[in-house]
C-alpha cells in the first residue's frame, strides 16, 4: 500500500486502528517529497526534524491511550504566508526570505492542537499576488499533471503538494481565487470559507477585506475535517464571526433532492474554453440527475467584478505592504539616509508583480483619485454583493466553472502579460468581493488536465457546499485520479 495515495481521513482510520504510526506516515510523506519535489517544487522550506518530533509525540500519546482527534498524526503543509513560530515565513519574497516570526497563526495553533504534523512551507506567488506561482522570488512550482504547466496560484504550492501526494492536506489562502483556481488546475478540492469563518491572525496580508485561509484536500470529506479544525471565532481577529461552527463532516450526505441551484449565465460567456464548458455542463447535468433543480440565472454586475477587485485589493495591499521598509524586520538594503534605505529595500525586496500592484493601489488612494477609483470600487462592490443576495433569495447555491480554462504553460501568461493572467481571476473574484464561501472540486478532465467546478453559497453555508460537493464526488470518480508523476 502506498500511503501517499490515501486521503487524510483514510490515513486517519489506519492511524486510529494503529495499523500505521504517525512516524510511518510522516516517513512516507517525506520520502514522497524527496522523490518528486525536485520536479514539482512545491516546498520552500521543509521541517523534517520538527515533523518527526511531532509524529513521535502523537504516537506516544496514542500509546498512552489518549483520545486523539481525526487529524492527529496526519502530515500536512502550509502556504508560506501563514506564520509559524521559529520557522521562517517568506511569502515567497526576497523581502521576508530570512524572516522568522516570533508568533504563530491561529490556524497553526489549532492544527497543532489537533495533532497535525507540519512537513514544511509551500511556495506561492510573491505576497499572494499572482495566479501561476511564477511570481515567487524563489522558483516556479510545476503542475503535477503536466510539469510544463503552472499549478495556478497564488496557493500553487499548496495545490501541487496535495495533487502530487507530498502532503495529505494543505492550507492555502484565497483573496481573489488563490485557493479555488490552483485547486481546479491541480484537480484537488479547495475551499474558500466565508469571510470571517477562519481567523486571519498570522496570515500575512495581501488584501485584508478578502483574504481567507482555507483547506486544499484530496476529497470533500477531508475538506470538511480540516474546516472543522480551523474554523471559528478568534479574539485575535475581530473580523471573525462569533457564530457556532457546525460539524461539517457530520453534515455530509448525498441527498440533494429538491435543492435549487442557479447557473449564472455570465460565467458561460465568451472566453470560456468550449471543452471546459462542456465538462462543466455535464457536471451540472449530474447534479440535476441527483435530484437538484438547476436553472439558469443572472448576476448582472459580473463584468465589473474584475476591475473592482483589482482596485480594492491593490489599494489594500499598498497600505499593508507599506511596513516593509528595512527598519525593524525583513530585508534591509542600506542607503545614505533613511529614505534611501526604504527605497533600496523595497526596490530589491519586491518583485515586479508586487511593485505593479503597489503602484496601482497607491495611485487609487491618492488625493484626487480616491473618489474616482477606490470609492467607486467600494460602491460597485456593494452592487456585486447585492447580485448574490438577490440570487440566494431564489437559489440554495450557485454553480460555475472555477476557471474558464485548464492550466496553461509556464511563461505563457503571468509576469510579462498581466492582462492575460487577469483572465484567471475573472471567475473567482466576484465571490471574494462578496465575502461568500466557494468550493472548487474536480469535475472532469480536458486533454488530461483537471477541470474545476465552483460551488458558491450564501454566507456561512459551507456545510451546504460541502454536502453538494460530496454528493457529486460520491457519484463520480475524478477525485480518485492521481497524476502519473512516477513515470516522469
Amino acid at each position: 500500500m502506498n500511503l501517499c495515495e490515501l486521503t487524510a481521513h483514510e490515513l486517519g482510520e489506519l492511524l486510529k486502528s494503529r495499523q500505521v504510526s504517525a512516524v510511518e506516515a510522516t516517513e512516507a510523506a517525506i520520502n514522497r517529497i524527496e522523490a518528486v519535489d525536485s520536479r514539482v517544487q512545491a516546498f520552500v522550506t521543509r521541517t523534517v526534524e520538527e515533523a518527526f518530533a511531532q509524529a513521535r509525540a502523537v504516537d506516544a500519546a496514542r500509546s498512552r491511550g489518549e483520545t486523539l482527534g481525526p487529524l492527529a498524526g496526519i502530515p500536512m503543509a502550509l502556504k508560506d504566508n501563514i506564520c509559524t513560530v521559529r520557522i521562517r515565513t517568506t511569502c515567497s519574497s526576497r523581502m521576508l526570505a530570512d524572516w522568522v516570526p516570533p508568533y504563530e497563526a491561529t490556524v497553526v495553533s489549532r492544527l497543532k492542537e489537533a495533532g497535525a504534523i507540519l512537513l514544511g512551507k509551500l511556495n506561492m506567488d510573491e505576497f499572494a499576488m499572482g495566479a501561476t506561482t511564477e511570481t515567487s522570488a524563489f522558483f516556479p512550482t510545476r503542475n503535477p499533471w503536466d510539469l510544463e504547466r503552472v499549478p495556478g496560484g497564488s496557493s500553487g504550492g499548496s495545490a501541487a503538494a496535495v495533487a502530487a501526494g507530498e502532503a495529505f492536506y494543505t492550507l492555502g489562502s484565497d483573496t481573489g481565487g488563490s485557493i479555488r483556481q490552483p485547486a481546479a488546475f491541480c484537480g484537488v478540492v479547495g475551499l474558500k470559507p466565508t469571510y470571517g469563518r477562519v481567523s486571519r491572525h498570522g496570515l500575512i496580508a495581501f488584501a485584508p477585506s478578502m483574504d481567507q485561509i482555507g483547506p486544499l484536500t484530496r476529497d470533500v470529506t477531508d475538506c470538511a475535517l480540516i474546516l472543522n479544525a480551523v474554523a471559528g471565532h478568534d479574539s485575535s481577529d475581530c473580523t471573525t464571526a462569533d457564530l457556532p461552527v457546525p460539524d461539517y463532516r457530520a453534515a455530509l450526505n448525498t441527498d440533494i433532492k429538491g435543492l435549487k441551484i442557479g447557473v449564472p449565465r455570465e460565467y458561460f460567456a465568451d472566453g470560456l474554453d468550449p471543452e471546459v464548458a462542456a465538462i462543466v455542463r455535464r457536471a451540472i447535468d449530474k447534479l440535476a440527475e441527483l435530484g437538484a433543480i438547476c436553472e439558469e440565472t443572472s448576476l448582472p454586475h459580473t463584468e465589473y467584478a474584475l476591475p473592482t477587485y483589482y482596485l480594492v485589493a491593490y489599494a489594500e495591499a499598498s497600505s499593508n505592504l507599506a511596513r516593509y521598509d528595512g527598519v525593524s524586520f525583513g530585508l534591509r538594503v542600506p542607503g545614505r539616509d533613511i529614505e534611501e534605505m526604504n527605497i533600496n529595500t523595497r526596490t530589491e525586496g519586491f518583485g515586479p508583480e508586487v511593485k505593479r500592484r503597489l503602484m496601482l493601489g497607491t495611485y487609487a488612494l491618492e488625493a484626487g483619485n480616491y473618489e474616482a477609483f477606490y470609492l467607486k470600487a467600494a460602491k460597485v462592490r456593494t452592487l456585486i454583493r447585492q447580485d448574490f443576495e438577490a440570487a440566494f433569495n431564489k437559489y440554495d447555491l450557485l454553480v460555475t466553472p472555477t476557471e474558464p480554462m485548464v492550466a496553461f504553460r509556464l511563461g505563457e501568461k503571468g509576469n510579462k502579460k498581466p492582462l492575460a493572467m487577469a483572465a484567471a481571476d475573472s471567475y473567482t473574484s466576484a465571490v471574494s468581493l462578496a465575502g461568500l464561501p466557494a468550493l472548487s472540486l474536480p469535475c472532469g478532465f480536458s486533454q488530461g488536465l483537471p477541470v474545476g467546478l465552483q460551488l458558491i453559497g450564501p454566507s456561512f453555508a459551507e456545510a451546504r457546499l460541502l454536502q453538494v460537493a460530496y454528493a457529486f464526488e460520491q457519484n463520480t470518480e475524478y477525485h480518485r485520479r492521481r497524476p502519473a508523476l512516477e513515470v516522469a
Binding site: N81, I82, C83, T89, C91, L96, W99, P101, P102, Y103, A105, R200, H201, G202, L203, I204, A205, A207, P208, S209, S235, S236, D237, C238, T239, A315, E316, S318, S319, A322, R323, D325, V327, S328, F329, G330, I338, E339, N342, T362, L365, E366, A367, G368, Y370, Y374
Partner: protein
C-alpha cells in the same frame, strides 16, 4: 494697519488606559526602551489589531464633556506616511468619521467669556520615539517603540482664537476638563498632552484668512503663548514689509525664543486614508452614550457655578478653586467640616497654594488633609490661635505632616487671652517705653502700633491682638 491673529489648536492627549489601543501592551511611561512591545504594535507581518473598548469609552466621555455630537458609527482609517517611528508606515486614525464633532468649550479671558468651537475629537495611535545619536558620518538613530500604539485623542479647535492669551486659556481649560474626566495624566513635560497651533494673521476687519503656519514643539503653556506671540509678530512684520507669508510648518525654539522652518508645505498626494478592513466598525448606540453621560463627573463650569450659588464665592475665587479638580475636591471636603467658604477659599488660594508650590505638590498630594485644615481654621475662629500663628502652624503642618492641634500644643502657641496676664505684660511694655507713651499721649496715635508690636514680641505672637489693643488703650 491693525492686524488680528487667527489661531486654531490641535491637541493630542495620551489616554491613561492600562493597555495600548490595538494590543494588550502596557502604556506606562518611562520603561526601558522596547520592553512594552509585541508583534501587533511592532507592526509585524500577519498581525491584526483589536480595538481597546476603554479607548472608545474615553473618546465618548471626552466628546460629551466638550459638547460634541457623538458618532453612532465609528471606524478607523490608516493614515500613510513613511517615518521610522511608525512601524507600519501608517497610523490608525479616524479620517472622515471622528468619534466627536461640532463641540465647544468656554474660556474666560480678561473678564470676558468666549465660546471656542471644537471641530472634532478623534481616536488614533501614538508613534514611537526616535533617539538621534551623533557620530561620524552624521551618526545614527535608535527607535523606541514603547509609545507606539499608546491611545491618543486628537482634539481640534475651530479657528476661533484671536490671541496667544486666548490660546493659552483654551489649552488650560481643556487640560482642566480632561483632568476632571480622569482620562489622561495631561503632563506636557512627559508628552501626554501635546499641542500644535495653526496661526495666520489678517488686517482687522478682513473676512478672508491669511496664510496658515503650523507651529510645533511647544512644551508648556508658557511656550505656547510665547511661540504664538513671536509667530504673530513675525507674520505681521512680513506683511508690513510688503512680503508674503509662505505656508510652512515651523518649530518653536524655546531657548532662542524663535520659530524655525521644519518644512515648507507643498503639493501633497495626501495620506491615502481609506476604511481599515482589519478593524470592524464600532457601533455606538444611544444607550452607551447615555450611560457615559450619566457617569460624567461634574465639570469645571458647572462646579464653578455651584461654588458661586451654594457658597456665595466671588467669581474669581470660584474660577481659581475649580481650575484644578483636586483643589476643588479639597475645597468641598474642607467646607463640609468648616462651613465658612470664603475663609477656606482665601486660605486655599493663599498660603495653601503657596506651600503646595514650595513643596512642588499637587493639591491631592498635600500632607495636610482637609480635616486638618478645617481644624486649623477652627482653632483660629475659636480664638485659640491668632491668624498670624495659624499661618505659622500651617507651614509646620506641611513640613512635618502633623495635625493642627498637635503643632499648636507642642509649640505652646495657644493665644493668650487672659486679661490679667496680658495686663501685666502691657504694663511692663509701657514702663519700658516712656518716650513712646508720651508721644501717644501727645496725639501721635501711630505710636500705638509700635506698642502692640512690643507686646506681641514679648508674647512670641501669642497675645490676642484685640485684647492687647483694648488693654493698651485702657492703661494709656
Amino acid at each position: 494697519m491693525e492686524y488680528e491673529a487667527i489661531i486654531g489648536l490641535e491637541v493630542h492627549v495620551e489616554l491613561k488606559t492600562k493597555s495600548k489601543i490595538f494590543c494588550s501592551c502596557s502604556t506606562s511611561f518611562g520603561a526601558e526602551p522596547n520592553t512594552q512591545v509585541c508583534p501587533i504594535c511592532l507592526g509585524l507581518p500577519g498581525t491584526l489589531p483589536v480595538t481597546n473598548r476603554q479607548v472608545v469609552e474615553f473618546g465618548i466621555k471626552t466628546a460629551l464633556a466638550l459638547n460634541c455630537q457623538v458618532a453612532s458609527y465609528c471606524k478607523f482609517d490608516p493614515k500613510h506616511y513613511y517615518y521610522p517611528d511608525v512601524p507600519k508606515n501608517f497610523q490608525w486614525s479616524q479620517f472622515d468619521m471622528p468619534i466627536g464633532s461640532n463641540g465647544h468649550l468656554k474660556i474666560n479671558v480678561d473678564g470676558e467669556e468666549l465660546v471656542i468651537g471644537i471641530a472634532r475629537v478623534h481616536m488614533e495611535e501614538d508613534a514611537g520615539k526616535l533617539i538621534h545619536i551623533d557620530g561620524p558620518d552624521g551618526g545614527y538613530s535608535l527607535v523606541d517603540y514603547n509609545r507606539t500604539g499608546v491611545p491618543l485623542l486628537e482634539i481640534v479647535s475651530e479657528p476661533d482664537l484671536r490671541s496667544p492669551a486666548q490660546a493659552r486659556a483654551y489649552m488650560e481649560k481643556l487640560r482642566t476638563i480632561l483632568h476632571y474626566l480622569d482620562v489622561s495624566d495631561c503632563k506636557m513635560e512627559e508628552g501626554s498632552l501635546r499641542c500644535d497651533a495653526n496661526v495666520s494673521v489678517r488686517p482687522r476687519g478682513s473676512s478672508t484668512y491669511g496664510t496658515k503656519i503650523e507651529v510645533k514643539n511647544m512644551n508648556s503653556f508658557r511656550s505656547l503663548q510665547r511661540a504664538l506671540e513671536y509667530e504673530i509678530e513675525r507674520q505681521v512684520n512680513l506683511l508690513e514689509n510688503g512680503e508674503q507669508v509662505q505656508p510652512a510648518t515651523v518649530a518653536w525654539d524655546e531657548s532662542r525664543g524663535v520659530t524655525t522652518v521644519m518644512r515648507v508645505k507643498g503639493e501633497s498626494s495626501g495620506y491615502r486614508c481609506f476604511p481599515e478592513p482589519n478593524l470592524v466598525p464600532i457601533e455606538i448606540d444611544s444607550a452607551w452614550i447615555e450611560r457615559v453621560r450619566q457617569e460624567l463627573p461634574e465639570l469645571p463650569d458647572a462646579r464653578r457655578q455651584r461654588l458661586i450659588d451654594d457658597y456665595g464665592l466671588p467669581l474669581y475665587d470660584a474660577e481659581v478653586i475649580t481650575s484644578s479638580k483636586e483643589l476643588a475636591d479639597y475645597f468641598d471636603r474642607t467646607v463640609a467640616l468648616y462651613p465658612d467658604a470664603k475663609t477656606v477659599s482665601n486660605w486655599l488660594m493663599g498660603d495653601f497654594s503657596r506651600l503646595l508650590n514650595a513643596h512642588n505638590l499637587e493639591p491631592g498630594q498635600a500632607p495636610v488633609p482637609p480635616q486638618e485644615l478645617a481644624a486649623l481654621l477652627q482653632l483660629q475662629q475659636e480664638g485659640t490661635i491668632s491668624g498670624k500663628i495659624a499661618k505659622q502652624v500651617l507651614e509646620e503642618m506641611f513640613a512635618s505632616g502633623k495635625g493642627a492641634r498637635q503643632v499648636v500644643e507642642e509649640q505652646g502657641l495657644i493665644q493668650i487671652s487672659d486679661a490679667a496676664a496680658l495686663g501685666q505684660i502691657v504694663a511692663e511694655v509701657l514702663a519700658a517705653n516712656p518716650k513712646v507713651v508720651e508721644d501717644y499721649r501727645n496725639g501721635k496715635t501711630k505710636a500705638l502700633g509700635f506698642l502692640v508690636g512690643q507686646v506681641m514680641k514679648a508674647t512670641k505672637g501669642k497675645a490676642n491682638p484685640g485684647l492687647v489693643n483694648k488693654l493698651l488703650k485702657e492703661q494709656l
